[in-house]
Symmetry: C2
Subunit: 237 residues, 2 copies
């Protein structure tokens, strides 16, 4: 039993609600479940035992793997799952993240994507790890509901998925709230610290979320979520 590393072909759900989400929505990915002995006697313990028996999943009841896997001391349930990759859909709208660096941000973005019905996420390297347990946790399980693919460059992505491009850029002239979005499209966002390279000013229709000059920029998951909100405005959820 070792801590997660990026090179591994498995990762972990740390925490009860995430683990139940895995077992209930993507049981085929689960490989092993870890439960703290203090949980074994209660209702949660019964539910875990029933799920594991039904799925023929090994269940380890011990504090040790949980202590190894988790930073925090209050993790009582976890599971190992196989990483996965599904191709993006050709006709759905996409979100493209160019070199996002923070795992927590990536998870929060996954949560918003799933909430606003964007089930396809392209990530341009170098980038945070989709399966880092921090990403999985911040996604609140949304990582199990979104198709995500990594690419080595935006051109590589663009060659395979032609569509209307909307790069979000501080230097764009067109305001987000004035934009009528074509479909299928891709909303494109840059790195937390640097934004998108200037070359994206010549890519599709660059768009800006207008805000006051007292801040340099919005937080990345905030910017992505506002764009998703606006692009789906009036849609019946």
């Amino acid at each position: 039993m070792k801590r997660y590393k990026k090179e591994d072909d498995v990762s972990y759900t740390l925490g009860a609600s995430l683990t139940f989400q895995l077992l209930e929505t993507r049981p085929e990915l689960a490989r092993e479940v870890y439960m703290h002995p203090s949980m074994d006697a209660g209702e949660t313990g019964e539910r875990v035992r029933a799920l594991c028996a039904g799925l023929r999943l090994p269940l380890v009841v011990s504090p040790k793997p949980l202590a190894v896997l988790s930073d925090k001391e209050n993790c009582y349930l976890a599971a190992r799952f196989a990483k996965f990759c599904e191709p993006l859909s050709a006709d759905g709208d996409h979100v493209v993240l160019v070199c996002p660096s923070n795992a927590g941000n990536l998870g929060t973005i996954l949560r918003s994507c799933l909430g606003f019905g964007y089930r396809d996420l392209a990530i341009i390297r170098p980038a945070a790890d989709l399966f880092d347990p921090k990403t999985v946790r911040a996604s609140m399980g949304a990582v199990f509901g979104v198709r995500a693919m990594y690419f080595d460059s935006f051109d590589e992505y663009r060659a395979d998925w032609p569509r209307a491009f909307y790069p979000l850029m501080l230097r764009a002239r067109q305001s987000l709230d004035q934009t009528v979005f074509e479909h299928p499209h891709a909303l494109i966002f840059g790195n937390e610290a640097t934004g998108l390279p200037p070359s994206f000013l010549d890519t599709g229709t660059p768009v800006v979320i207008r805000h006051g000059t007292d801040i340099d920029s919005l937080n990345l998951p905030v910017a992505v979520s506002i764009a998703l909100y606006e692009a789906t405005r009036g849609r019946a959820f």
Copy 2:
């Protein structure tokens, strides 16, 4: 020299850009500056020395206080500053956070508030600490540009600042994008895990940010920021 504690009447900017922001925008709050010796020789060192001399601020060039103050090892510049409290404005629009529990979230919310021109934040206890260095860092310095006050209950806040109330609630009937906002108003948000208590369904005009059922809710700073974006839609920034 000790780590920050909530009871202290001073806090710290950890990192170069935050520290410069403090010294340049709120110099009257600064009490002492800490610089790593490795920075002393370069341009940043000169800039720090000039600012401290101009403001007659003590400057400590040593790795020790930085190591004590910071979790991370890559903090090379920090400052101690006096906590402050300014009364909210009577005619401005407010954001009210009821029992927010996470310092990073609180900081990200401050950043969005300042960006969308909401300079008044009411926080209902129990709540995360506005001056926790994690809040200060996540705010990217916005904590120095927003008026914030703590209250023991929403009723206490409401007695002093009557206005149109818009509680954001999953169970509200009215959609955010259909809402015409009166001024002055307060946008009201609940705790990360529990949202607002049901009593807010009878407070002002409850409003919902509609999203799909694949997620339980949006991340709190995301929800606040979408509401700020919508409530200022069309405003010239």
